[in-house]
């Protein structure tokens, strides 16, 4: 415990973590750049069809080729990144919100509150993979909003668990006891004493959640239960491309690459965060 150390532990970088961050941010950056540019400009309108130039291989005018409608694949990929990013961010936000408002009180109060929240969470987690999201969308109809709510619901228990376990650990710590003895009320304890200390645990979980959410979303779009045409999404583009797997492989390669870039980028960043936080905790 030296007095001179002023660095925040989360700012500590190991070479391993920096490698993860560098690769992660480059991969993620490609997708985010595509998204940002697509807000203002795409080479062609993403859903403008052109029967005359369909299924063109990559060339100067269409660097990533065209699909069976003659739509520019590059433009569509750029437009698709918008949905991928939007759905994952909105879905994770919703899941986080649910997770936090259920997980912290469950961990804090324990007892019946905890039992009830965990029972509900476990029950939701008992639906394997994307089953619950598929069913929810099947029941309420396929739309971007429904996908976000369905995936948010599916992912909420994960965050609730993180919050609950974290809260259970933190509430036993002396500074919480101290605050309780000082007379701080439970709501304030949970919001400003406990919650800020959960952030280091929630951060990697959130990043991983973004990646997993994208996996699920693209899977649902692949099955036709996600983003609806003519809007582009990576999953739907891949599903449509399957018919042309031998004649037009570029229809698979580019969306698949972008999708993998996004997920992989997030994984690497979360891995970096994990290393950093572990090192930070050790110090």
């Amino acid at each position: 415990m030296s007095r001179s150390r002023k660095t925040n532990p989360t700012a500590y970088r190991s070479p391993e973590a920096s490698a993860f961050y560098t690769v992660g941010f480059i991969l993620l950056g490609i997708v985010i750049a595509a998204f940002l540019v697509s807000l203002f400009w795409t080479p062609y309108a993403p859903d403008a069809t052109d029967a005359a130039s369909k299924l063109m291989a990559p060339c100067a005018s269409h660097p990533f080729g065209t699909d069976n409608f003659g739509r520019d694949v590059l433009s569509r990929i750029m437009a698709a990144s918008k949905y991928t990013i939007f759905i994952s961010v909105a879905g994770v936000f919703f899941a986080l919100l649910l997770g936090i408002i259920s997980g912290i009180p469950a961990g804090y109060y324990g007892g019946i509150t905890d039992r009830a929240v965990m029972l509900l969470g476990n029950s939701i987690m008992c639906f394997p993979g994307i089953l619950l999201a598929l069913v929810a969308v099947a029941v309420f109809g396929a739309s971007v909003t429904n996908v976000i709510f369905a995936l948010g619901l599916v992912f909420a228990p994960t965050f609730a668990r993180v919050c609950r376990t974290g809260t259970m650990e933190i509430k036993e710590l002396d500074y919480i006891t101290h605050a309780r003895v000082m007379g701080v009320g439970p709501v304030r304890l949970m919001t400003s004493h406990i919650f800020p200390n959960l952030i280091p645990q929630l951060l990697p979980a959130t990043v991983i959640g973004l990646a997993n959410m994208t996996l699920f979303e693209s899977g649902m779009s692949y099955l036709g239960l996600g983003v609806q045409p003519p809007d582009a999404s990576f999953g739907k583009m891949l599903a449509d491309a399957q018919a042309y797997i031998t004649v037009a492989p570029w229809l698979i390669v580019f969306p698949a690459l972008m999708l993998i870039f996004y997920i992989l980028g997030l994984y690497f960043i979360s891995e970096g965060l994990r290393v950093t936080l572990a090192k930070g905790a050790k110090r």
Binding site: K54, L55, G224, P229, P230
Partner: protein, 506 residues
């Protein structure tokens, strides 16, 4: 330790590869006297009178036969009836029943079976409350056996157009278990149904047409969609796959597969609900018609394999089709724009297109339409719904703005057009023109063929003039048949006739 661990790894990898090669050798050439047909719709109904979906019709065409039967050229031929007579006022139809025909259960076909079947279809049996199972046969008043063993059908009013509905399947008298155990007189007998997988039919040895069928067994295998069908074809799991698009068919090895095509006699329609704003304005509807490029739609959805339509009938209908209407709505964006402006929509409007998600061609058409309509400022949002919802909200409920669908029909021209009568059940576009109603009502009671043709032309002219919807194309049916088979004919209807199919060279 490292050594032994490496060994485990090598073993693990080796066992995975060994199993992998098993997968490769499981495929062997098929030389049995059977054929597998790929279908994309789950078969659900095997009752010839309650069948609704075209996909079910495909299969049961081989199990049941009617008094009459279409051939692949669309000609109506005698089948279980050897001949028929229509009274002058077209209100009484009399059929002579073929002799020597046996049902799959071994019983002989007689007039009573026909009477039972027709009554059942027309809802005339006790306890049916007069609700026709086959709605077109609702107009039948009575079915009787005449003294000389013929079957006499009496109608409530004259109808010259009813003949093609006597293709309705005939089942044994009193039989009511067609759903679970279909019994008919067709070339194939029902063997088994594995939900979600396949329907198996076997040869009817006692089929009344000598020498037919050739095959011992026909399997209808459910493929999730056209693309799985394509891969299954490539893998040799199925021999016949109908309803491919041209570009997909082109991917197949021509040495292994023959590609057959035929007009489908379908009318693909971009249906506009005539009773919602702004589609109630004929100028808007015309503008949309002018904005659409039918050639591009055919190119995108069918890879060019389709016939452009400007009116409610396919040119395959021969003389009933009015060739003078060709080219009425060739794409003309300027004209479309000025029509929009005239109607007060120079800035366009937003509109929704509700399409059944299970039909890729319609979804794709909607995608192309959305892109084309942007040119005149119309912002088309696509809403995909499942088939059941589509039927409920669009077709029956008529709660929609636009949709894309294909209207199938038999070869009866009246079948094609009667839906445009304003109070018809099938008038889901809410077309309402008293003049057209009047003309359409005259058709069944007009016995002179030339006058009837004239009436048809007038109706088609009216529909085009009112631009009641956007008629897009008659998509060509492309069927791919393995070269190990021959004798397959593409029907202009939604059926698979397997009776004439045989192994090549036999």
């Amino acid at each position: 330790m490292q050594h032994s661990v490496t060994k485990i790894l090598v073993f693990a990898t080796a066992s995975v590869t060994a199993l992998g090669s098993l997968a490769a050798c499981s495929k062997k050439p098929d030389d049995s006297n059977s054929a597998t047909v790929g279908i994309t719709q789950e078969p659900a109904v095997f009752d010839p009178h309650t069948v609704v979906a075209a996909g079910d019709e495909e299969i049961i065409y081989n199990i049941y036969e009617g008094l009459l039967k279409f051939d692949h050229q669309g000609t109506l031929n005698p089948c279980l009836a050897t001949e028929y007579e229509i009274s002058d006022d077209a209100s009484v139809y009399t059929f002579t029943i073929r002799e020597g025909v046996k049902f799959h259960d071994g019983s002989d076909l007689d007039a009573n079976d026909v009477v039972y079947s027709l009554k059942r279809a027309a809802g005339l049996l006790d306890g049916q409350d007069n609700v026709a199972l086959v709605s077109e046969l609702d107009s039948i008043k009575a079915v009787d056996v005449t003294s000389d063993g013929k079957v006499q059908v009496t109608l409530e009013e004259s109808n010259t157009e009813l003949l093609s509905y006597f293709t309705t399947g005939i089942i044994p008298e009193g039989y009511d278990n067609c759903q679970a155990a279909p019994v008919g007189t067709g070339p194939f007998k029902f063997d088994s149904y594995n939900p979600g997988l396949s329907v198996v039919l076997v040869k009817n040895d006692k089929y009344w047409q000598n020498g037919l069928p050739y095959l011992d067994k026909v399997t209808f295998k459910v493929c999730a969609d056209m693309d799985t069908g394509l891969t299954e074809l490539n893998n040799g799991n199925i021999d016949i796959f109908p309803y491919l698009t041209a570009d997909r068919a082109a991917q197949l090895d021509p040495a292994k597969f023959n590609t057959l095509s035929n007009g489908s006699n379908m009318v693909q329609i971009f249906a506009l609900n005539n009773s919602v704003k702004p589609l109630d304005d004929v100028r808007v509807r015309k503008a949309i018609n002018y904005a659409v490029n039918r050639k591009d739609i055919i190119s995108v959805t069918m890879d060019g394999a389709g016939v452009e339509l400007t009116t409610a009938m396919s040119p395959a209908m021969g003389s009933y089709y009015d060739t003078s209407l060709n080219g009425t709505f060739d794409q003309d964006i300027d004209k479309a724009k000025s029509l929009m402006a005239e109607a007060g929509y120079e800035n366009g409007f937003d509109i929704t297109c509700t399409v059944p998600s299970s039909y890729l061609i319609h979804v794709n058409t909607a995608v192309e339409l959305a892109s084309e309509l942007k040119a005149i400022g119309i912002n088309l949002t696509i809403e995909q719904v499942d088939w059941a919802t589509w039927l409920e909200t669009v077709y029956t409920g008529r709660q929609y703005e636009t949709t894309v669908i294909a209207l199938t029909s038999t070869y009866a021209p009246y079948d094609v057009l009667q839906r445009y009568i304003s109070d018809s059940d099938g008038n889901f576009i809410n077309y309402n023109n008293p003049l057209a109603d009047d003309l359409l009502r005259q058709i069944p009671v007009t016995t002179d063929p030339a006058a009837r043709t004239e009436l048809y032309h007038k109706v088609l002219g009216l529909l085009t003039e009112d631009a009641c919807s956007v008629y897009l194309q008659d998509p060509t049916t492309i069927t791919v048949v393995s070269t190990r088979l021959e004798g397959y004919y593409v029907y202009p209807m939604y059926v698979q006739d397997m009776s004439t199919v045989k192994l090549s060279g036999n």
